[in-house]
């Protein structure tokens, strides 16, 4: 996935970067086929990459849709600061909807205990926003290499009124042809970087010199260990037992979700090049540090502790 510009005798030929071309093609189909698309922006590297691709797809025109951030209130402050700066620079509209509002109104119940996270509560806020604005296409940065259920998802993934995915009855997606026809009330989730791997994303960030939030780079942070993972010791957001001792470690984040569901990794990588090298040889997958993915296994472990087999 190397993108080169050949300059010979003043001739410049644009060479194809398959993944980039595919993503740009998808963005243009979204704008042509839907009336109210929106880009789901988390402030993580994947959605930042999406923003760059959207810029490229419509240049010199501006990105022709708004960005939506579902704010759990548990985001890393660095991510939120970055989000505001980026959208201002690009001159795109930013819509923020808060999970806190649904908690305050009693619509959703906040989890409690050791593994409490607002990760699951985001869904309700997202569905509310889709209804409020009448979005018919939500563009997201999910990738098929992340997780095996995601490996089954189409590029245009049709959802019903309740946002549900009918995984056993997906529309066939052949060649480059994308069928975005939906009924009123339905919406489509669109994944332009479906075929990118984690390494592809980082290589692209490096090649394009894309700015990313500081938490992706090595920094000193107050942390504690739980289940073999390094948690952020933020007492407001993350519940911590007394015997879970806080220690300062040099870490970075490989994936950025909420503080309550994203673990850090030990790293001294302070620039993108070093991160690319680090990922190339990493023995652990990206979502190995996602606490939300570990839930089912953690549940198994608990049952075992209580005497289950």
């Amino acid at each position: 996935m190397v993108y080169t510009v050949k300059i010979e005798n003043k001739m410049s030929t644009i060479q194809v970067n398959t993944l980039e071309s595919e993503a740009i093609y998808i963005f243009r189909e979204v704008v042509a086929q839907f009336e109210k698309p929106v880009l789901l922006f988390s402030g993580g590297k994947d959605s930042i990459t999406l923003v760059r691709l959207a810029q490229k797809a419509f240049y010199p025109a501006k990105i022709p849709f708004p960005l939506l951030h579902v704010d759990t209130g548990h985001n890393f402050p660095e991510t939120v600061e970055f989000r505001d700066r980026l959208t201002k620079e690009l001159g795109v509209e930013l819509i923020v909807r808060n999970v806190q509002d649904n908690i305050d109104s009693g619509k959703v119940k906040e989890e409690s205990g050791r593994y409490a996270s607002r990760n699951m509560l985001q869904t309700e806020t997202l569905l509310d926003a889709i209804e409020e604005f009448g979005f018919d296409a939500c563009i997201g940065g999910a990738r098929r290499d992340e997780e095996k259920a995601r490996a089954k998802e189409r590029i245009f993934s049709v959802r019903d009124d309740f946002g549900q995915w009918d995984e056993k009855n997906q529309r066939p997606e052949v060649f480059d042809i994308l069928n975005g026809r939906i009924e009123l009330g339905q919406n489509v989730r669109v994944f332009p970087i479906s075929n990118w791997t984690e390494l592809d994303v980082w290589s692209y960030i490096k090649q394009e010199n894309i700015e990313i939030p500081s938490i992706y780079f090595a920094h000193k942070r107050a942390t504690f260990l739980r289940d073999g993972l390094i948690w952020s010791a933020d007492d407001v957001v993350v519940f911590r037992e007394e015997d879970e001792i806080v220690e300062e470690r040099t870490v970075r984040f490989r994936t950025v979700g909420d503080m309550s569901c994203t673990a850090a990794v030990l790293s001294t990588a302070s620039d993108v090049s070093t991160i690319v090298d680090e990922i190339r040889v990493s023995p652990i997958s990206e979502r190995g540090a996602r606490i939300d993915d570990k839930r089912s296994e953690a549940a198994m472990e608990k049952r075992k502790q209580q005497g289950y087999f």
Partner: protein, 415 residues
């Protein structure tokens, strides 16, 4: 070539998941946490081996039934190339998912269990590879360890497939035969020590050596317009860019072009990609073009080189793979989506159903049902500009959408 897209076909029993697992394992593409999860679950199920299908069968229903229902995408890379594998289901009732997975493949691997030889499924997999005109096909004769690494057995299967290949409608296809054992690792990534009689490459070596010319046929340049870019800012007040992806060949500034369907002519003025402009662009690039003349061009139109015009007709004949539970019947209306262009279509004739075992056709059927492949004639509401699938993959294919359900009901290959 940077990325190779491969489709694999074969049932669980042929060892397809084991093969994919073996490739991932031997190229060190499985991370520790994923491998641990597979080990743990294999043990839980009482297996004394690693069940790699647990890594690729991502749906609960698939793991319950132990079969692949829908296409899974698997990614790995070597220092030379990135690979995307579309792992497709082999059962007849999932033919549509197999076509889905294989439609974007540049190469295909068909698995055969050496003990069973060529079976009904092999015929179908081979047939679909020919229908889709996948240029590079590898016949992976698996489980060689269970037939004592017999050269005779391998040659038997080889000659049977060669007989099929002779009957195929796609004679430019390269068929490569590799004897291997996914379980033991023979000839997958590492050369086998058990088959001295085999002098060819291992599976991975073969894939590593493929070039773009090996897997893609060149055709005439086609540039379907996805959207018109009009910034209307002070700086770009009069900018009118035509955004799309280039298929078939290359485009250069100064090329004389014809716009379809209006047949107006002009020349390419600039080729833009993001904030730079270029003098030429290769197939596969998503670019934005400007033209010398201010002419009327909109989404669904297509730019072609002058004197390379495609067919323009209001009626087409096509081979269709049916993907909907509601059968295809005469006089039904559909939305035909041809790349980025939509037209209304009516089925005027169902000419035949093609037997996927190369045994011929059934003439004048009353309908084509789910997972069947047949030949039809369609009447269109307005002229379509197209090529035959044989001459241009991108402009020779379409889908039929049921306007009542919006489902993608079938995929067509224009004859």
């Amino acid at each position: 070539m940077d990325i190779l897209k491969i489709a694999t076909a074969g049932s669980v029993d042929d060892g397809k998941s084991t093969l994919i697992g073996r490739v991932l394992y031997d190229t060190k593409s499985l991370t520790e946490d994923k491998l641990e999860a597979i080990e743990q679950k294999s043990k839980q199920r009482g297996f004394d081996y690693l069940d790699f299908s647990l890594a690729t069968d991502g749906l609960i229903a698939e793991r319950e039934q132990g079969i692949t229902i829908d296409v899974a995408h698997i990614y790995f890379s070597t220092p030379k190339k990135s690979y995307i594998i579309a792992d497709t289901p082999g059962h007849i009732e999932y033919t549509r998912n197999m076509v889905t997975g294989a439609s974007n493949a540049q190469a295909s691997i068909v698995l055969i269990d050496a003990r069973k030889g060529v079976i009904e499924q092999t015929y179908r997999h081979f047939f679909i590879n020919s229908l889709l005109r996948i240029k590079e096909v590898v016949i992976a004769v698996n489980k060689m360890d269970l037939v004592d690494y017999s050269e005779e057995k391998f040659n038997e299967i080889k000659s049977e497939i060669e007989y099929l290949a002779n009957k195929s409608s796609y004679q430019k296809q390269n068929v490569t035969f590799i004897p291997l054992s996914a379980l033991k690792g023979d000839n997958v990534v590492k050369s086998s020590e058990n088959m001295d009689w085999y002098k060819g490459d291992t599976l991975l070596q073969h894939l590593e050596d493929l070039t773009l010319d090996d897997v893609e046929e060149l055709s005439k340049v086609r540039f379907p317009i996805q959207t018109v870019i009009r910034p209307k800012t002070e700086k770009y007040h009069d900018f009118r860019g035509y955004a799309g992806k280039i298929y078939g060949g290359d485009l250069t500034v100064g090329d004389a072009i014809t716009v379809l369907p209006s047949k107006t002519t002009s020349k390419i003025k600039e080729i833009h990609f993001f904030d730079k402009s270029y003098t030429s662009a290769t197939r596969g690039s998503s670019v934005t073009l400007t033209l010398e003349d201010n002419i009327n061009v909109s989404r669904g139109d297509m730019l072609v080189k002058k004197e390379e015009e495609p067919s323009i007709e209001k009626q087409i004949s096509a081979t269709i793979c049916w993907m909907d539970k509601t059968p295809l019947s005469p006089n039904t209306k559909y939305v035909l989506k041809h790349g980025v262009n939509d037209v209304q279509a009516k089925v005027t004739e169902i000419s035949s159903i093609i037997n996927t075992d190369f045994s011929g056709k059934e003439e004048n059927p009353s309908a084509i049902v789910l997972n069947q492949i047949g030949e039809i004639v369609l009447k269109l509401s307005k002229p379509l500009f197209f090529d035959s699938y044989q001459t241009n993959k991108a402009t020779g294919t379409f889908i039929l959408i049921d306007p009542k359900t919006n489902a993608t009901s079938g995929v067509g290959f224009i004859q």
